[in-house]
């Protein structure tokens, strides 16, 4: 029998639901992209759904925990409670999207109310911000934990370093997942860092470091859960490296010609969703029918969300002038 780290069958099926929701929602976005209904770029998380969902599943949103995704962590915000229709509205730049058409894709969320906060584009910047969020949580005696994602590439930025360093000195309740997915755009990890492994960066901060197989849902859940517990009990920051792979190009326009074909093939074998489903079936947590039922539920939900998003209005042009500062009432309306 596989070790499930305290996850009940219901929870395992819940994870399966989020895995499928993530993958299918992104496939839907691809379809909408081809119909020219998506404005702006499209960045896939194919192959990384497992770690995104599993890590976010280790938080306690009722406790006020906050997850900060990167563009490839749509799975994480779905777990935190983001609605597919909102994500689709964002991609379609609709007027009733969470940012009312002002920002892209999954760049949205209020840490006070939503359980997640989308990144800004400047990679690394969210680490100091998450330090501030967890600092505030501590000052407000909320006992919340923050979970931040950063890429192999993003972890080269000064912002990442300063944020990690500050959070570590302050022993803030922060878990940072560093996703080594092989590439930052076209740049392989070995050109990004000469460190033996990205988890070794933890030595520089004096925080806990660990490396885990990012395509093993249960292993990621376990490692994150332990890190979250450490954080919540005053044990400070954890830098958790997940080894995974970006199965698509950086964005839709990128055919990843620079990635050796064998590498892609090799990682295709390790698909985290397929692997998790195999584990569910092999261990009797689910039948193929259960999984098909989840897939159907997911499809239904996404169909509804798509219709709703599609029917949503574009923003009113003149609204662009409003809501920069407090006082014009734009955001209260």
């Amino acid at each position: 029998m596989v070790e499930t780290y305290g996850l009940t069958r219901d929870q395992l099926l819940d994870i399966e639901y989020y895995l499928r929701l993530t993958r299918s929602l992104e496939e839907r976005v691809v379809a909408l992209f081809r119909q020219a209904k998506v404005i702006g770029g499209l960045y896939r998380s194919l192959g990384q759904e497992g770690e995104s969902v599993a890590a976010a599943y280790a938080l306690d949103y009722k406790q006020g925990d906050v997850v900060q995704p990167l563009i490839r962590n749509v799975g994480a915000i779905l777990v935190a409670g983001a609605k597919p229709v909102d994500i689709l509205r964002q991609y379609m730049a609709k007027g009733n999207s969470p940012t009312r058409g002002r920002e892209l894709n999954i760049h949205f969320g209020n840490p006070q109310t939503d359980g997640f906060i989308g990144q800004i584009s400047m990679l690394g910047d969210m680490i100091p911000v998450m330090a501030g969020i967890t600092l505030a949580g501590r000052m407000q005696k909320k006992n919340l934990v923050g979970l931040a994602f950063i890429g192999d590439g993003g972890s080269s930025t000064g912002a990442f370093w300063e944020g990690m360093n500050f959070a570590s000195v302050q022993r803030l309740p922060l878990v940072v997942i560093i996703e080594d997915n092989g590439y930052a755009y076209s740049t392989p990890t070995w050109k990004q860092s000469a460190a033996r492994t990205l988890a070794d960066k933890a030595y520089a901060f004096g925080c806990t470091g660990e490396t885990v197989d990012g395509n093993d849902v249960l292993a990621v859940y376990d490692a994150t859960k332990r890190a979250v517990e450490r954080a919540r009990s005053g044990g400070g920051v954890t830098l958790l490296e997940v080894k995974t792979f970006r199965m698509k190009g950086h964005a839709e326009h990128d055919n990843q010609a620079y990635v050796p074909k064998e590498l892609i093939e090799q990682w295709r074998e390790k698909d985290p969703v397929v692997r998790f489903e195999r584990m569910l079936i092999e261990n009797g947590f689910a039948t193929q029918e259960d999984i098909t039922a989840i897939e159907q539920r997911v499809k239904r939900e996404i169909d509804i969300a798509t219709d709703e998003a599609d029917a949503s209005p574009m923003p009113t042009p003149s609204d662009a002038a409003l809501g920069l500062f407090d006082g014009d009432g734009y955001w209260n309306a």
Binding site: R102, N110, V129, A131, G132, Q140, F166, V169, F325
Partner: protein
């Protein structure tokens, strides 16, 4: 509060706001145990403890970033830059994150970034910055620059209470050089309102920060020649008091904009452009700007004095305008 210096006014504002509202806290380098490089936060750690007066590593990105993160969680941080020059190191975080929380995401980000600015103290190119123009074209940040102890206190309190991020530029030359009696009771100076420091009818000098005193000196000297100059202390750069500017120009028909930052691309250009559009009919002469040379502030006193604006340069501009 009798005879309060400009720097004491800042300390008082922080202490009072921290006492008033437990969401307010101070974060920066050496602000705690040491009380700040200029002793601006001296004593605060004793009153409020190390959790609300936080000594950080040397990390301007982290200071501004952590303050912003706390702000969007409902706190009201004051982030200190040891010298305002180092705000350049956290520039991205301020313009790309802090400033845009509301416009992009509908999140309030009530925070203040403050620190010693300005020249005249032989601090050299890295300790003399007047940073306002660097931020004016990046929407979402309010910017204030007090010139008096009264305003130093009142504007800082207003900034702390404001629901948007505010860059509070304190001029270190003024720290201990000016003082005045302050009201015992709580007060604020509203953001966005200028103050007419000297009423006049012949010429308007628009300025802010330490240059106010240069403007007043020049105005006094002009008065001896029978010229009656109006001096406007802008106090807020963003938002700025366009009405006060236009009103004064409509009255005097001649205007000098005086600032300590370099001329080109300085904040004064914006005010000149507004006047040239909106008060064109009232102008009897070209709009003059008096500002620093377009160079980094040099360290050696003779060079610094030559580079920065002074009374003589204002008088020269004024006389040219009056002779026009």
């Amino acid at each position: 509060m009798p005879e309060t210096t400009y720097i004491e006014a800042i300390t008082q504002a922080m202490a009072e706001e921290m006492a008033r509202d437990e969401r307010v806290f101070l974060i920066g380098e050496d602000v705690g145990v040491y009380g700040g490089a200029f002793k601006t936060s001296y004593g605060l750690i004793d009153k409020f403890g190390p959790e609300r007066v936080i000594d950080t590593p040397i990390s301007e990105i982290a200071i501004i970033g952590a303050a912003s993160g706390a702000a969007i969680m409902g706190m009201r941080p004051i982030a200190e830059m040891q010298f305002i020059d180092f705000i350049t190191c956290g520039y991205d975080m301020l313009v790309n994150f802090a400033a845009v929380n509301r416009y992009l995401f509908g999140r309030a980000c009530p925070m203040v970034v403050r620190g010693p600015a300005g020249g005249g103290t032989h601090g050299g190119p890295y300790h003399s910055l007047n940073p306002e123009a660097m931020f004016m074209n990046r929407p979402g940040l309010k910017i204030v620059a007090p010139a008096t102890a009264y305003d130093a206190k009142g504007l800082l309190k207003a900034a702390v209470r404001d629901d948007d991020p505010v860059l509070y530029i304190e001029h270190k030359y003024l720290y201990r050089r000016i003082k005045e009696d302050l009201p015992a009771e709580d007060y604020i100076v509203p953001l966005g309102k200028a103050a007419v420091r000297r009423k006049g009818k012949d010429l308007t000098i628009i300025t802010w920060g330490a240059m106010l005193y240069v403007a007043l000196d020049a105005a006094n000297e002009l008065a001896a020649d029978g010229v009656d100059a109006e001096v406007i202390d802008l106090r807020s750069i963003i938002p700025f008091d366009e009405e006060a500017i236009l009103e004064s120009v409509a009255k005097t028909n001649r205007v000098i904009i005086l600032h300590e930052a370099p001329l080109t691309g300085g904040a004064g250009a914006e005010f000149a452009a507004r006047i040239a559009e909106k008060a064109f009919d009232y102008l009897d002469a070209p709009i003059k700007r008096v500002a620093a040379l377009d160079v980094p502030t040099p360290y050696s006193p003779p060079l610094e004095a030559f580079a920065l604006p002074d009374k003589a340069k204002v008088l020269k501009a004024a006389r040219e305008l009056l002779a026009y």
